[in-house]
């Protein structure tokens, strides 16, 4: 290798530390494991946590896909893909079915994931209780005591104010019946995909220095009430490009006179649907 970097950028001691944290995260589904997050050659908020997780699990045989809001061709996704192409010389792809590791910012691909795939989430604020209780000492105690009452109060206040639960992304869910966790700012549309997923799901928060995980086939239940059950977003129209229904759509403003269109946020899924391929 001529880049002058260690394989996958991080030094071996850092990887061992992150790997130990990852194993504990898998063993305690939904619990946020503190780790000694390193400075990465990108700013916080650009996926430093996800990148450190990916660097620690990557092998030379992997094929990496990186998406940002479902798209493979946005700045963040392109630069992270290039980063690992350069420092780990791994194969990269834009096709969900061909990837063994998928690093994602704020989406879960539409195509169902398989057992031989790992999904790595970039997480800005890992603590679901943080905006309700700013003190880490307190939120840690609340997780220890399984004291999640204030989260239900927050969702109730949504109902009291808006008539329905208005939280539409980073929707809190309970993992394996124990820890309430923040699934990162994915739309709540994606929450059902977290549940009993065949793939291992890893979450990395670089600035907040936390790693957590949802093992395969693990129950992930979005919080709700009996009389206000959890629901996902729905659209009246199909994707304007591929005609798909039942995918997550982005709104695109076309002019300054209110014209707009809705298209799939998952670019690979949309492209495959348009070319008539089976979106595996």
């Amino acid at each position: 290798m001529t880049t002058g970097y260690n394989f996958a950028y991080l030094n071996e001691q850092t990887k061992r530390m992150i790997r130990r944290a990852l194993l504990k995260a898998v063993a305690i589904p939904g619990y946020q494991v503190p780790f000694a997050s390193r400075e990465m050659p990108m700013p916080y908020g650009w996926g430093t946590g996800g990148v450190q997780v990916t660097a620690s699990i990557l092998t030379p045989e992997d094929t990496l896909k990186v998406i940002d809001q479902g798209a493979d061709d946005t700045t963040n996704a392109v630069s992270i893909r290039k980063f690992f192409k350069r420092t780990a010389e791994v194969a990269t792809t834009e096709e969900t079915a061909k990837a063994s590791i998928i690093q994602t910012r704020h989406r879960i691909p539409e195509a169902p994931l398989r057992e031989d795939q790992i999904l790595v989430f970039q997480v800005p604020i890992p603590e679901p209780l943080r905006f309700l209780e700013p003190r880490e000492t307190e939120t840690r105690k609340m997780h220890a005591l399984e004291e999640y009452g204030i989260m239900h109060v927050k969702l109730y206040e949504d109902i009291a104010r808006h008539g329905h639960i208005a939280t539409s992304y980073a929707y809190p869910a309970k993992v394996n019946g124990r820890y309430v966790f923040d699934p990162s700012p994915i739309p709540k549309f994606d929450n059902p995909k977290l549940d009993s997923c065949a793939a291992l799901q890893l979450f990395g928060a670089g600035r907040e220095k936390r790693i957590y995980a949802v093992p395969p086939y693990t129950q992930v239940k979005s919080l709700d009430f009996e009389d206000h059950p959890f629901t996902i977003q729905k659209w009246d129209e199909p994707c304007a490009l591929c005609g798909a229904r039942g995918t997550y759509l982005d709104e695109i403003i076309l002019d300054d006179r209110g014209k707009r269109m809705f298209v799939c946020s998952d670019t690979d899924h949309c492209r495959k649907a348009r070319s008539g391929e089976e979106a595996a």
Binding site: F7, K15, L23, I28, P29, P34, R178
Partner: protein, 200 residues
């Protein structure tokens, strides 16, 4: 005085990455057997798969405990040189405990289980077993398992499995266990519910 060549992973970064992926897969899918056959020699009776786990995870941050049968000078030298981990004589402060069926119960009973606010501070056991395909059948359920998973090992007695069931009851506290055989590994994290035939 003779100095024996003690090699570890030939390509540390890539080989330890490959080994770790097997370990991560094992922990994410409890009871599944994954091959782990590193490319270096290890001093007997240390098993190559157990050595690969130590070399991938242990360093100066992780006190390592070895049972009496594994505390051979050659093994201690090998692990000290390859990992830099402090070898501890006490079970309680160890982050990793390398044991055999004869010492597994003692290690599991005495190992650090983490605390309510930091359950991740618990120890990880690496138990060398003669086989991962023979022995009494256990049925596993829990995160990482689609329905049920069979699991077999040789040499671990009922008292050990009683303690493993207690370990699961402590969730989210508890130890996580890697089993290493001659050619493969398997893992039982604390989240796994273990059912024994003829037991509740």
């Amino acid at each position: 005085m003779t100095i024996e060549a003690m090699t570890g992973f030939a390509d540390q970064a890539r080989d330890s990455a490959r080994a770790f992926r097997r370990m991560l897969d094992a922990m994410a899918r409890p009871g599944r057997i994954l091959s782990l056959e590193p490319d270096f020699d290890v001093p007997a009776p240390l098993l190559p798969a157990a050595a690969a786990i130590c070399l991938t995870l242990c360093d100066y941050d992780t006190p390592l405990w070895l049972d009496a049968s594994l505390s051979e000078p050659a093994i201690l030298d090998f692990l000290r040189f390859q990992t830099g981990a402090p070898i501890t004589a006490d079970i309680a402060p160890a982050r990793f405990l390398l044991c055999t069926p004869g010492s597994a119960l003692q290690a599991l009973a005495g190992a650090h289980r983490g605390d309510a606010e930091y359950p991740d501070a618990s120890a990880t056991l690496i138990i060398q077993v003669p086989s991962l395909s023979a022995g009494g059948r256990l049925i596993l359920e829990g995160p990482g398992i689609d329905g049920e998973q069979d699991f077999r090992t040789l040499g671990l007695d009922a008292a050990f499995w009683d303690t493993m069931q207690d370990n699961h009851q402590l969730f989210p506290l508890g130890c996580d266990v890697f089993f290493a055989s001659a050619s493969g590994i398997s893992a039982l994290p604390r989240s796994t519910h273990i059912k024994r035939e003829g037991h509740a």
